[in-house]
Structure formats: structure tokens, C-alpha cells
């Protein structure tokens, strides 16, 4: 039986109208997230992963950003058709988000407890006292020792790991259906990262939410996600289940990325390298966007852009040498 999707992003295009020209940051991106599933989204800086997440939350600054096409269906309703007031009731309530920087995403002049209970009062229609109780309970849930005391502390009194726990407590306080985690552990040390990922996994199962995990760290994806979407220069270039992607990457970009990570096991050899760097979004190469860096690039790759090919089993790839047809313009 086909699982029901919680979120479906269809043909999403986001353009930035800047002084230097129009940048297509996200180019006809489609993907979906099933209920209770963790979807990993990977790619390097500037590939459009964060812009996609901000588009879902309708948090893109406009101008310069504009969503020029597409639909974002959340529980069957198109978020792009919602009014600002309707969005405010969804954000932080049914969809919440945690960011990379736990230092800058908390308000420094309010205690952490007050910041959590504010969200609860706003969305859950609880009284002040009930909201405080719920906030303390959330702090306990995310493993903060001494939550009654910590409730009254300010963000600067906490370590980076503790602050990220507070962010998670705040994000989960209204039982969201979808949690968007944008590089949630990038700023943290490895042992703290392990704690936070473990916490996110346990809480996800407990409250039954879906997670969109955005990261550049393939190791983090391998350990937490069930399916993975790989982005490059604003496009989805590959999608697969986690096992398939790491075992048998189809797109040369994915394969190159996997080979360029220094491994802990095995003998040291020279690292594989993807030559060159990500193209300037104002000046994308003709044809396939990866062709200047691709070891397998053929003539057609320089002339035409490949379309995203559905290969069955939820697997998609955008590459001529894997059988993608050229994209219709």
C-alpha cells in the first residue's frame, strides 16, 4: 500500500531578483516526505537546500526572492495559497524548524523557559501556568538536567549543546507534524552531535513526526535518514533510499562526493577529488550543470540538460549516462 505523504513539494522554483541579475536558487524541485519518515537533503553550499526549507516555511524575504512556480502541499493543502495570518498558525505549531546556530536563534534577553512557553501559549491556548508546566516537561524530555532551575536561565548561561536542546524543546513543544532541521548539528562538537542526533531520533519516534534533515554531512544522513535527496546547483540530481544511495550512487556527483570523504577505516590513499568548484548561479554552464566537473561528461552533456529520470522504487537520477532523456525547455 502506498504510504500517504505528509508534505509534497511539486515543481518548486525560487528566483532571487538581484542587482546583478536573476538567480534561480531552486529550479523545479519536487520531493515528498511520508508520515513518520526522515528525509535527508544533502548538497554543498549554494545548492538551494536552505532556500527550499525557507520556501516551505514561507520565510523567504520578498523582494528579492520570489516563488515563481510550484506547489507545496502540506496535509493536502497548498501552503503557497495561505495568507500570512494562516501561515503564522502553522509555523511553530504544525511545522517547526531548528537552525544551525543555536547561539543566534534564541533571544538573548528572555529566559529560555519564557521563550518556550510563549510558543505554547500562542498555539495551544493554554493558560500561563499550564504553559510553564509544559515547557518544563519539554526541557526534561530533551534531557536537560534540573529543568525547573534551567527554565529561568538565559541563553548565554548555556553551552552550545544545551542551547540546541532548548531549540529542539521549543520546536517540539506544540507537537508538530513536520520538523525541518537545517544543519542542526554542524556547529556542535562530535560527541555533542552524537547526543543531539540520538535525541532527535528518539523523539521523532515518540511523537510520530516527520523530519526534513538538511545537511552537508553524508555521515549524519547515513545514520539518520531513510531516504535521501541530493541537490546540485538548485536542482535535484538524485534521490534514493539511504542504503541504495551509499551502496550504489548513480549520479557522478554523488559518487564523487562519497569517494572524497576521508574514511576512518582502511588504508590511506589519495583522496578522490571533484575538480573545480560549484558554478556561479548567475552564470550556469550550458547543458548539464555538473558537466564541467564531471569525469564522465560526453558531448550531449555540454549541449542539453538532462531531465530527472524516474527509475522505480523511489529512485530518481538526472544524468544522460544513466539514461535520462533531455529536458524539454
Amino acid at each position: 500500500m502506498e504510504e500517504k505523504s505528509l508534505l509534497e513539494v511539486k515543481d518548486l522554483t525560487v528566483k532571487f531578483f538581484t542587482d546583478d541579475g536573476v538567480v534561480t536558487a531552486v529550479d523545479r524541485v519536487s520531493f515528498d516526505i511520508k508520515r513518520g519518515e526522515t528525509l535527508g537533503m544533502v548538497g554543498e553550499s549554494g545548492c538551494g537546500k536552505s532556500v527550499t526549507s525557507l520556501a516551505i516555511m514561507r520565510l523567504l524575504p520578498s523582494p528579492p526572492a520570489r516563488i515563481t512556480s510550484g506547489k507545496i502541499l502540506f496535509e493536502g493543502e497548498d501552503l503557497l495559497q495561505k495568507s500570512e495570518a494562516e501561515m503564522r498558525r502553522i509555523r511553530g505549531n504544525r511545522i517547526s524548524m531548528i537552525f544551525q546556530e543555536p547561539m543566534t536563534s534564541l533571544n538573548p534577553v528572555f529566559t529560555v523557559g519564557r521563550q518556550i512557553s510563549e510558543a505554547i501559549m500562542l498555539h495551544q491556548k493554554l493558560s500561563g501556568k499550564e504553559a510553564v508546566e509544559r515547557a518544563v516537561e519539554m526541557l526534561r524530555l530533551v534531557g536537560i538536567p534540573n529543568p525547573e532551575k534551567r527554565y529561568h536561565e538565559y541563553p548565554h548561561q548555556m553551552s552550545g549543546g544545551m542551547r540546541q536542546r532548548v531549540m529542539i524543546a521549543m520546536a517540539l513543544s506544540c507537537n508538530p507534524k513536520l520538523l525541518i532541521a537545517d544543519e542542526p548539528t554542524t556547529a556542535l562538537d562530535v560527541t555533542i552531535q552524537a547526543q543531539i542526533l540520538d535525541l532527535m531520533n528518539r523523539l521523532k519516534d515518540r511523537v510520530g513526526m516527520s523530519v526534513l534533515l538538511i545537511t552537508h554531512d553524508l555521515g549524519v544522513v547515513a545514520e539518520t535518514a531513510r531516504r535521501v535527496v541530493v541537490m546540485y546547483a538548485g536542482q535535484v540530481v538524485e534521490e534514493a533510499s539511504c542504503e541504495d544511495l551509499f551502496e550504489n550512487p548513480l549520479h557522478p556527483y554523488t559518487a564523487g562526493l562519497l569517494k572524497s570523504i576521508p574514511r576512518l577505516e582502511g588504508e590511506k590513499g589519495r583522496l578522490n577529488v571533484i575538480e573545480g568548484s560549484v558554478p556561479n548561479p548567475l552564470n550556469l554552464p550550458p547543458g548539464c550543470r555538473f558537466n564541467p566537473r564531471c569525469p564522465e561528461a560526453a558531448d550531449i552533456c555540454r549541449k542539453k540538460s538532462p531531465a530527472l529520470l524516474e527509475m522505480g522504487n523511489g529512485r530518481r537520477v538526472r544524468c544522460f549516462s544513466r539514461g535520462s532523456p533531455p529536458e524539454e525547455v
Partner: protein, 325 residues
Amino acid sequence: MNQQKNIIEVQGLVKWYPVKAGVFQKVAGYIKAVDGVSFSIKRGETLGLVGESGCGKTTSARCMLRLIEPTKGRIIFNGRDIMRLNREQLRKIRPRMQVIFQDPYSSLNPRLTVKEIIGEVLAFHGIARGKELEKRVKHLLEMVGLAPHHMRRFPHEFSGGQRQRIGIARALATNPDLVVCDEPVSALDVSIQSQILNLLEDLQARLGVSYLFIAHGLNVVKHISHRVGVMYLGKIIEVTESDEIYRNPLHPYTQALISAIPIPEPKVRRRKILLEEDVPSPLNPPEGCRFWTRCRHAVNICRREEPELVECAPGHKVACHLYGR
């Protein structure tokens, strides 16, 4: 290996920062950023230093170069104790030891061209000027994989990876014996990281330079280093060959650190050792072994006595009571 081959030897390095409090700014305590660190690096060798933020790896490196004045310790560079040198003597020795910084965006002056950035070093140390300087800059740019015409450009015209190459060219301009690489790839994308790591390895093979390589990513450090030292709260708690540290980590903290690294293989499910809580404050580190508050194996002696860094197998030193004399 005999002693002569060491390019640098650091013995008992200590850096305490006074913490002042009250109206009269009396010294209320010390932050023990580095508290008795000893290591040596051989010619052409890479020593990696890993540890979490605040463990003292950057402070150790900067003290070693006397960019920060150490509180105590001996630093023998090329056979000379550089703790005894005055400013003038120190300036003469500086070209032999250089640094590559983490952030390629803030470590290059935005108002200077690449030629000026690299040429400044050559001119300051009296290595070259005029036509000769230009030739040297071109040569250095080629060595790090950039083109000679890049010389006239400004830092903002380059990508992060290219900027890091400029930083490397600047560090190598004086033909140093030792380069401190302080998180040189942490700010870069994965595909660019491997380019820079390969470049650093090639340059070492060609020039015979030694690296002190600092990073928090153990996989990166293991890849590039010959030996790895693990730091925790201002101390080196384990040091050995880089393969050995992964295959046979002895200190409970090293074991936890290695198990915490996410590996890109979804089929392999490793048992993670999750450490409880955070690193204690360096203002008031625990008595005895500094790790005992988070250690699964802590026993009574750990709370009382600080373990010393002792060799428990050839070339493998560890500071832990589990491997006591």
C-alpha cells in the same frame, strides 16, 4: 628515531588566563587553557591534534609559535629554545614557522591583491623584491594550483577553496620548516576539502615541511597525519600513530570520540558511546583525571590522582589509570 630529527619539541607547555572580578579587578582564578602539554614533531612529519572546542588545541599551537606568550614551558625549535629569544631574534626565526588559518574569508586582507598579500611576506623578511618578488609569487601560485594571472586579483574574486590556496601559498612563501594548519578545511565544502588535503600532502612530499594539523574532524586528521594527539581540557590524553588511534584507541574519551563520528555507511550500525553532559569548565577542572566526570570506567583513584601520560606500547602513550604502571 634520534633526537636530532625533531624539528620542534614542546615540553610542559602551560597557558593560564587570569580571570578578574570585583571592583578592584582582583584575580579570582585562572582559566587553564593549556595545562602541561608536551609533544614533538619530526622533520617532514604531520602531527594531528584533535579535541572538542575549548580543549586547548589552538592555544597550544599559538603558544608554540609564541603568538600567545605561554605561562610556562620549553619550546625547542631547530635546537634553540625559543622561549629565551627576544623580539628581534624571534622575528628572525618566524619565517621558519608559518600558519594557515581556518577562515579563508577573514584571514586575507580584502584591500590587497594576491600579489601584495604574498609579496608582503617576501618583502618583510627580505627574501625578494622587484622582479624577483613577482617571479617568486608566480611560482608560489603555480605550486598551489592557481594561475600566475590570479596575482592581480583581490580575495573577493576567489571561491573559498581558492582562497585557502592563497593562504597556503602565503605560508609557504618563506620556505618554512614547520606550518601550523589550524582547521584549514573545516570551513570548506566536502568536494573542496579533498582538493586542499591532497594539495597539503603533495606539498609536504615535495618540500619536506612538517605540519601541526589541528582539526575537530577525526577522519580528516587521521587521513593526513602520521601521528595523532587527542586533547581534553588542556591536556594531551593520548598520542600514537594515526592508524593505531583508530584501530586501538585506549583512552575512554578517545573511544567515545571515535564512536561518535557519523560514518557514511548506512548498513554498518556501530555501537555509539554517548558521553553524558558537557565538557567541564576549564576555570575549575575536576580534581584527579579531568575526564572522570564523564567516564564510564571511573573508579576511586581517578577522582584523586591525575594520571600521567605514559607509554603503554611502543609509540603509544595514554594518560589513564586503566593502563596503570
